[in-house]
Symmetry: C2
Subunit: 202 residues, 2 copies
């Protein structure tokens, strides 16, 4: 009753954003209305453009408003490496490491209980992509969760007949933490995947 209909509609509409509840939506709506109308208009216009024009890259399936994305168009990158991730956010994360190969972005992970099968996450396209000339190694960089591991395992099976190196990103202790805070499963992986620092000469 105490907000006008349009202000109330705006508060409701803001709740489509993840992590935004009633109180936060009220605060956002009033902030834009009282302090930053140009910013609000700018947001509305960009949002509308993005929702209507951003699609998926034909080659790697990441979000892109062009038919192929910047990474796929870039002739400088290494065609022999193909890194498989679960979302465009993961491309962003891996780009920070200086990786220079190509990507393939799955639409999420396999989840048979939710009815999400290989076709839904784009595995047929991946099979075609992995057979393109030049690809030598496929790096499975799905999340280190149960679903991510299962998806990586399934993809490895599908690609096992192709003449490719298949690899999985390493599991182990993250940098900068303390060993006593690391869970047992991770620590077991870190031990099993240990690497020699100095090998005695035979």
């Amino acid at each position: 009753m105490s907000f006008s209909p349009l202000v109330r509609q705006l508060m409701d509409a803001l709740r489509v954003l993840p992590g935004v509840g009633q109180k936060t939506a009220q605060r956002m709506a009033l902030h834009l209305l009282e302090r930053n109308r140009p910013g609000g208009i700018q947001l509305a216009q960009t949002l509308l453009q993005a929702m209507e024009r951003v699609g998926y890259c034909q080659r790697c399936q990441t979000l892109s408003e062009e038919p192929t994305c910047a990474q796929c168009r870039n002739a400088q990158r290494d065609d022999s490496l193909l890194c498989i991730v679960q979302s465009p956010m993961d491309v962003f994360a891996i780009e920070q490491t200086g990786y220079q190969g190509r990507y393939f972005v799955l639409h999420g992970h396999l989840s048979p209980l939710d009815g999400i099968g290989p076709e839904d996450i784009g595995l047929p396209q991946l099979l075609t992509r992995a057979q393109e000339p030049g690809v030598r190694e496929v790096i499975l960089a799905t999340n280190p969760t149960v679903e991510g591991e299962a998806t990586a395992h399934y993809i490895a099976q599908q690609l096992s007949t192709l003449p490719l190196v298949l690899s999985r990103i390493a599991h182990g202790v993250p940098l900068g933490g303390e060993l006593e805070l690391v869970d047992g499963g991770t620590l077991a992986h870190a031990l099993a995947g240990r690497r020699p620092l100095i090998s005695p000469a035979n």
Copy 2:
């Protein structure tokens, strides 16, 4: 580099929202693009409409897309009470209490150091409004902060020559808390403002 230009623009635009940093903006943008495009379009359209059409009520200065807001148009409400608050959110909060009088919404609080004087928060309009026939009591419900108290004090001085009852909302211990957690200033107010429960008959 790893998001397309339009996706990056959307992430930047989302940062006008209060409390939204880079990571949250990325999550929001990808959530809308990958999971809820109709919701995103709806948000964009509502936002644009609200930014362009919502103005201020001519009588009480709250946010409204009509020349006068619903509370001011409602003939059932009590014209003799005028409650002064700092923002449209406060109207929402006071409406929950069942208050049936009228409102006047200041545009914030006085802040001489920031160059915000009486004209900026709409005090001349308040003076005119308080002199309308029918008003008997003005309730000062600015925030119980230093700035809110100073603003209330200033308004009280300005209105003191008018034939009106001036009141300030009570300070005291909030319901449902524990006394030991209440700060000293609040407790002093609660003691000074104590009320008799039973008065012995003389």
